[in-house]
């Protein structure tokens, strides 16, 4: 009797679990399907792209679109440009944001609340408000058409990352820092030797976020970069459409090439990334 009950329970449990997998699969499919279309279109011969109704699988796999994409716009140059900007932005974020976050989380000084509120307020600010004056400023010192406008802001601390790292640092026990002070450690030493190592997950999350943001940024490179040799991939891809009408196959191939590095970085930093997202949720 008892065993029959257990079996029935097990099957009901199994059915439930099966349903859950199905739901999860359905959810993931909705998000991933567009990628699959992107990928398959990139490998499809031209005459199979325009079919109504659309057909998912190519009858013949081809690399011609990748060749076209790589030939018609300097992918490698844009890749290096984008990597450079993203890399410098990440460096800037790692240098500046934790400093500010530490000051707001663990140092007691008059005005600290004001600065913290300013951090929160600037997170809310529509970038359009500052867009034009900042452009005029960079233009005034002749720095448009250089990477400075795209890189320097990261070295001045990004509100979102300051907030994220501050939230993380709040959880470090004060006793740890007090104890180090008792031992005569200087503030910088404490920061460098105690705080930063503990904050590693938040730092990696910030770095990955910053990387992906810079990687995908469109408006800023659009406004600041004029020389096509200094374009980023975003702008290169956008111009690609302008210059060549729509060659959907080549365009999708270019999109695949553009997206892959971001996915690579994402997989690499996934563990920290998820932690960062969770930490970003207001505690």
């Amino acid at each position: 009797m008892a065993t029959v009950e257990a079996n029935r329970f097990l099957t009901r449990h199994q059915i439930g679990q099966g349903l859950r997998y199905l739901l999860a699969f359905g959810l993931a499919a909705v998000f991933v399907f567009p990628f699959i279309v992107m990928l398959l279109t990139a490998f499809k011969p031209n005459n199979e792209i325009f079919t109504a109704p659309p057909v998912l699988l190519p009858s013949r796999w081809t690399l011609e679109h990748f060749a076209t994409a790589l030939n018609q716009f300097p992918f490698w140059r844009y890749l290096v440009n984008t990597l450079f900007i993203a890399g410098m932005s990440v460096l800037g974020t790692l240098v500046a944001s934790p400093l500010v976050a530490y000051s707001l989380a663990k140092l007691k000084w008059p005005g600290r609340q004001v600065v913290f509120i300013a951090v929160l307020a600037t997170m809310m600010l529509p970038p359009q408000v500052t867009l034009i004056p900042i452009y005029m400023m960079w233009n005034g010192i002749g720095a448009t058409d250089s990477y400075l406008p795209l890189i320097v802001p990261a070295f001045l601390g990004t509100p979102f990352f300051i907030f994220l790292i501050r939230q993380f640092l709040m959880s470090i026990p004060n006793e740890l820092i007090e104890a180090a002070k008792m031992d005569g450690a200087s503030e910088l030493w404490i920061y460098w030797d105690i705080v930063l190592p503990i904050a590693r997950p938040a730092l990696v999350a910030s770095a990955v976020f910053q990387f992906v943001w810079t990687w995908t940024d469109f408006l800023n490179p659009l406004i600041y970069l004029n020389d096509d040799k200094s374009y980023t991939l975003s702008i290169g891809l956008y111009s690609f459409l302008g210059a060549h009408g729509v060659q959907w196959g080549a365009l999708m191939a270019a999109c695949v090439l553009f997206t892959l590095p971001a996915i690579f970085i994402f997989i690499f930093g996934q563990r920290y990334f998820m932690g960062g997202i969770a930490a970003g949720a207001l505690k």
């Binding site: 018609q72 002749g142 058409d145 004029n226 096509d228 111009s239 210059a243 060549h244 009408g245």
Partner: protein, 416 residues
């Protein structure tokens, strides 16, 4: 030890001499001025231009011309705002000349001794503000009625020569299948903007008179009404737009005209080269006018070359400008692109004979009914508003009259 030091010494001396020799040889190269040509063209057109650029470099030794393809106009504009420009010469369209000249970003060309006598007035008017020339035309464009011969023959329709015939042809060439799906439309609009503006001229209207925008000019209103009544209304905006959504990219191997999605269209001269290469059976007639004397009334646009005021090497850029607009170079360039030339003397050139039906567009250059929107400040904004209005009509959101009236209401704020 000794031989080695000696050897090194001797090597050094020889090396230095060699370096000096190279340095001396390099002096003339240093004296060359570098001119950057940033152009909006890309793809095949860009390649044609690169060919002309290398021709130029081979033709002289003072200037090194370098081409950069940069097809975004906003970026082009932004780069002209910095103190030292990113390019010395670039291309644009006539519609922007006045606004840009007013901003002081186009180099005035009157002092550079350019002979203007061979350029059509209808084109130069678009490039001249207060007597000062700010851009030079490299190619021009006019719009006429192209048609798919096979589809017209099948339907037993002759190429239209009057507005009534055009309306009739559109009706006969629009096909709806048993399920109510549109399978072919009579008149396609590769660019709603160009189609309707041209119709406006064909109805004897103008979009700008006496230095003022005239969106509610009777001819303009009639044109939009004609477009709505004959193209949109018979099948309804919903069905029309659903059909248009299925068009492949313009001038690709999925081009909707080549594929027979529409039987006729008002389109520019570049179609001659393209249609021929696509191997289709097609023809072209002047856009029918409301009255016989308006037959072939159309608009002329110009692709222009200009030198920004922040160009690093203005003098050298003028040399390049003169070269690019010289008769043989202009002929070669416009021919490769399948565009109309911008010189009257080239209108007679036999170089274009291999482009079928090219003369229909070419003749518009000398037609008195050919209009050009003049160089006025508000043109960019006016065009954006007109396009919005045409689109609203094609979507059935607004009646032609209401849509054009809303543009008229907006024109008041242009002058601020």
């Amino acid at each position: 030890m000794q031989p080695f030091v000696y050897g090194a010494l001797r090597g050094g001396v020889i090396g230095m001499a060699a370096a000096m020799a190279i340095g001396l040889a390099a002096v003339p190269a240093q004296a060359q001025t570098k001119v950057t040509f940033s152009y909006l063209w890309g793809g095949a057109e860009g390649q044609a231009l690169e060919q002309i650029i290398s021709d130029f470099n081979a033709s002289q030794s003072d200037i090194v011309l370098e081409g950069v393809s940069s097809p975004d106009m906003t970026k082009q504009l932004a780069s002209m705002s910095s103190a030292r420009g990113a390019f010395d010469i670039s291309d644009n369209f006539a519609g922007n000349v006045a606004a840009w000249a007013d901003q002081g970003i186009l180099l005035p060309l009157n002092d550079y001794d350019i002979d203007l006598s061979d350029f059509p007035d209808s084109v130069m008017n678009q490039l001249t503000v207060d007597g000062q020339v700010y851009s030079m035309p490299i190619a021009t464009h006019t719009y006429q009625l192209i048609y798919n011969k096979k589809l017209l023959d099948e339907a037993g329709v002759a190429p239209p020569t009057t507005m009534d015939e055009l309306a009739d042809a559109i009706k006969k060439l629009t096909k709806v299948d048993a399920d109510g799906n549109v399978t072919q439309i009579g008149l396609g609009s590769p660019s709603l903007d160009n189609s309707i503006k041209t119709l406006g001229y064909a109805f004897g209207g103008d979009w700008n008179r006496d230095g003022k925008p005239t969106p509610t000019d009777p001819g303009a209103v009639e044109a939009v009404q004609f477009f709505y009544d004959n193209v949109i209304a018979p099948i309804g905006p919903e069905a029309y737009n659903r059909f248009v959504a299925g068009f492949g990219p313009y001038m690709s191997d999925q081009d909707p005209f080549v594929r027979g999605k529409y039987a006729m269209a008002i389109d520019g001269e570049w179609r001659a080269k393209f249609n021929q290469e696509a191997g289709m059976d097609w023809g072209v007639v002047p856009v029918p006018g409301k009255t016989a004397d308006l037959n072939g009334a159309t608009g002329v646009d110009a692709s222009t070359l200009f030198i920004p005021t922040n160009a690093p090497n203005k003098e050298a850029a003028v040399v390049v400008l003169k070269y690019l607009t010289s008769p043989p170079v202009m002929e070669k360039f416009s021919h490769v692109l399948g565009n109309l030339p911008a010189r009257k003397s080239l209108a007679e050139s036999t170089a274009y004979n291999d482009l079928p039906h090219f003369d229909v567009w070419l003749s518009a250059l000398t037609n008195p009914n050919t209009h050009g929107l003049p160089a006025v400040l508000y043109m960019a904004e006016y065009n954006t508003d007109l396009v919005s209005a045409f689109d609203a009509v094609a979507q059935g959101i607004q009646t032609p009259e209401a849509a054009l009236q809303s543009v008229a209401d907006r024109t008041a704020s242009y002058m601020q």
